[in-house]
Symmetry: D2
């Protein structure tokens, strides 16, 4: 069984594993206050062209999301997001467990717009019962989105300007950021640092054993953030593991370079489906692809490859997701491509 | 600078690192539903002589604590513990952040007793305003305790019987359990599995890069535990990393064997202080030792070794903690022993 | 200015005020453990034909909602409701502040159906990532709904059967229950007691100074409910005030009788609008009516009467809500009817 | 049975009841945005000599406490208080249910001191692991305290100065404030307004049917407070009831005048016990008195009068609390005094 159902089926990128081995006997103080973490922070600040950014490392994406959101909201405030947003549908109510309402908006191509944000904010503020309504105070988006699409630089700029004009903060969940950076160079790290109040550089799905870097370019959210981390169980005792891994993956552009290869693999797979006569469920440029196929084709393919059933399209057909990662092997892709070609009779 | 201030200054035990390297290219499904985790669970169940135990893996100790406690309490219920308990003083209110009150009791030698538990429970239940008082519903203890002491089998049995008679659950935080198992064999894994409703097998401080195994021998706390994990950001995407590490450390008795050596190092250090004329702050048998020393001795020693200032004893003297771990090197201990001998003039 | 914008503009129904005066010098123990509350509970149990029902009194509707919901859910569970539901849009995230996600469904005529509930529950349970998704465990509906519509007995039976088949509980918010009981006799108190796991008998909007009775016919939600009440600040010190008021309003059928008159006033107002040529925004039978009118008509009418702007219909027209209550005076209605007739030129 | 066990056994002071009757037919908008509430606010601001104070009305004391505390703390912050403080022992963990730790200090005569606050704050801040420890950010005291004692003006000034020097806020729970104001004139409303960041003027125990006024003289805590109120179910629909009652009780000095009489009744009862040979459990000047008496005396007295068993003193004796209120009748006190005299044989 080859794994194309997610981007966390393997261990670490070889460069990351090597760094962990080489530093294993080093002794460091705990909780990410060590030199290795400081080094990784410096690299990230430099690549973001933001020497003053606060950078924190946590183990997982749900931790990163709930931390940034609860740190950035007062108790009666909520966070706007696409109704398909990870925090709204796939984190078992982690944000609500911190006491805050997630305020869903209907997305287009997985994305929400500055206009939607403005409308939602003004609707609450203009209501004579505004004190009875959760106050939107942050916008959460994912880049790439849950369906693999990407915000353009213009879309992000509009969101950022609208948020800041209205007094909201903008938080970008970059669990798959590497693939996004590789697929759409106009949205690079310095752009994100200029545009967002917080964003994550995802490691778990981009070659690390685990780890997300939370980058806070401005002052809006950072105060006392480590208290929040400890309180939510998100401060790693051997914190240096996060520093070591991010240093290995970020330096010399490896983060984007390795992601680019995964994107190319994914796009080749997409093309194979198209060539075999299957329509796209939605079109994407990064490491996730979504295909509409007959139920029989899904069943045939999933006998040999772990892939994700994304949802029913109609009685005969379903949407299927396939994912590559920086650890995906070319030989596995070759097998898959051949098997896709063999599906043409189902199309 | 040699590190004796904690048991998480190094990376992993060589056996753990080796296992991570060897399994790096394996492909597994996520979230600890893979074969590696299942294998580690089997080993733990077997060593606990408890084939039905639920076993869950999380990254850190604060996560383990807050999860077991919030999963085991109704909203108006609280958890009894020593006022020195880690959850009461060193987790930034993580339990309270889940909505529950920590109910502190004054410990003796770092430990609370069955009688204290009984008295606290009956006091609440017998009060005519009992509905205005948080209801004790769980007991949390650490073994070893925060000051390195150990519960005897009789003490644990009494706690367990009292808890169960009164309808409470008993949770043992085993962040340093290996050192406890090695130092007091009468409290072994099968004993804990017969005695507690939940206990943790600490990995982070006992040779893993990270990881705590939560063992729930009975049915009291386990229902839907994975929902709790996901909601609190405690479900690791590449969950197999926890399985691989626990398998490596638990099999062939390595967990206890390696801990025993660390205990011996700690006890040798303790003896060196005694020989140099320093009194013990409290007597311990496991990997943490506590020495009372003049402030000047502390300053001299801490110039060369990272050690922990534990508190002021009087104007001239302080309590100091030193810790070994399964990763502590004999050559480092040798250096320390010599330096302690050199402190005799301060005693 | 006459008040038709809500059903809490006045003080209490004369019978309620009289009872408060007559019992003012009585001495009672606190927190609703007195004879007055017990008497009111008995009356309610009898009128519900449910001698075993648990009955609790709280001051306000948001309190009642958050209490029943948080008492009935485990931390990772959520409550299904119409997206227009009071808990979803008009309680400042009170449910989320207790840690639980509100799971909105699109309503028809303000109501959700048994089929929607079933679909939502099965979707979560059937998902391979179900542990990453909030588990629906309760259904919240309002009767009358937020837009004044009423569930039929068949609709409620279907909801109840579906909930219980799937292991969910059904909670009916009866903030305006009196008006519902008067308008649709097939849904009476015994019917609700047979059908729901919890429902409220609203007092604040039906003649009391304040107060909601929470009725729990079965065992599902009641355990330790008073602990929840105290923890959320919902236990009234002089609890007997709630008993005295409910006794006064419930006995001899006053609750429904007085509501019926308010419904008649509302329906007369509705008819006046229809006669003047204004279309209904939605059709209702109880004490709230919703009219579509030109913006100018709204402005003209609201100069003299407090009424509620409900939302924009198009550039020229808006929806407007008018409400009567058991305290609405016939002479005020007469004035309003005349003023409505005068609006005909706008229609 | 005459009631001396609490100060909420009766209904309202006649002046309050009269005002409620007279205003019953008035029509007002809801949620305390009406003229009656505004009038009451003005009276309070004037009596506090603090024209800019924010004044909010809620129904009960636990609501007031949890609201001020959760509004004033960030998620990782806690509130210092006496370990006997109402929030620590008698509100079912209401503060913890909002996510915050209560940080208890050992009181002297029911009171905590500025020095204790300073020490606790500096201990946390000076700890190298301060991020692992809940940060004290507010001080909660009661005046009168839970055992009826009173803070002197000097003690309050010292607390206030220490809090503000260290960046904490000071919150005074005045559930029985009237009795305190009457017993110790040096701590009057203007003094409290100059000294505290928030304090409550208790109504429930001082003649109202229900109600606490939260006064916030400065800007520290007030922002968006009404959102907090609504979210916690503490916004009364017919808010004018709170305004009407506070207006009636506060104007013309009735609040203090009526309290003074209750204090005199209590002190007469205290003297009767002393005359009968019973020692004081602690000495108080306001409306609560605490007597040490043989268990038999307690049993004899409690057959005829509702009084509170406060705790065991030794095998033979217990502490007993008796309370008067602004509604206590002189004829009931006369009966009690006679019955106390009859207890002399037990002394």
């Amino acid at each position: 069984m080859l794994h194309f159902e997610c981007d966390y089926a393997c261990g670490a990128h070889p460069a990351v594993l090597k760094a962990l081995m080489e530093t294993n006997e080093e002794q460091h103080c705990g909780y990410s206050e060590d030199e290795r973490c400081e080094k990784a922070r410096e690299i990230i600040r430099e690549q973001c062209a933001c020497p003053d950014a606060a950078v924190h490392f946590v183990v997982g994406g749900t931790q990163a999301n709930l931390l940034v959101i609860e740190a950035g909201l007062r108790s009666f405030e909520g966070v706007l997001c696409a109704d398909t947003g990870h925090i709204n549908v796939h984190e078992t109510g982690a944000v609500e467990a911190t006491g805050h309402k997630v305020l869903p908006l209907p997305p287009t191509d997985g994305k929400i717009s500055a206009d939607q944000v403005r409308e939602a904010v003004l609707l609450q503020r203009g209501d004579s019962s505004h004190e009875h309504i959760v106050r939107p105070a942050m916008v959460y988006i994912s880049h790439p989105t849950e369906i693999g699409t990407l915000y353009s630089a213009d879309e992000l700029t509009a969101l950022s300007e609208t948020c800041h004009e209205l007094g909201l903060t903008l938080f970008v969940d970059g669990a798959r950021l590497g693939y996004g950076l590789a697929a759409m160079p106009e949205v690079d790290l310095p752009f994100l640092a200029r545009t967002c109040d917080a964003f994550t550089i995802g490691g778990t799905k981009v070659g690390l054993l685990f780890g997300e870097a939370i980058v806070m370019p401005g002052k809006a959210l950072r105060d006392c953030f480590r208290y929040h981390m400890k309180q939510r169980g998100a401060m790693l005792a051997k914190g240096r593991l996060l520093g070591v891994q991010f240093e290995a993956m970020m330096q010399d552009g490896l983060y984007v370079k390795a992601s680019r290869k995964a994107n190319q693999q994914a796009q080749a797979i997409k093309q194979a489906f198209v060539d075999a006569g299957f329509p796209l469920y939605c079109d994407t440029l990064a490491n996730q692809i979504f295909i509409t196929m007959p139920n029989e084709a899904y069943e045939a393919l999933s006998r040999k490859h772990a892939i994700t059933y994304w949802g029913k399209v109609d009685e005969q057909r379903c949407a299927v997701r396939l994912v590559t990662s920086v650890c995906t092997r070319d030989e596995d892709v070759a097998v898959l491509l051949k098997d896709i070609a063999g599906l043409a009779s189902f199309a």
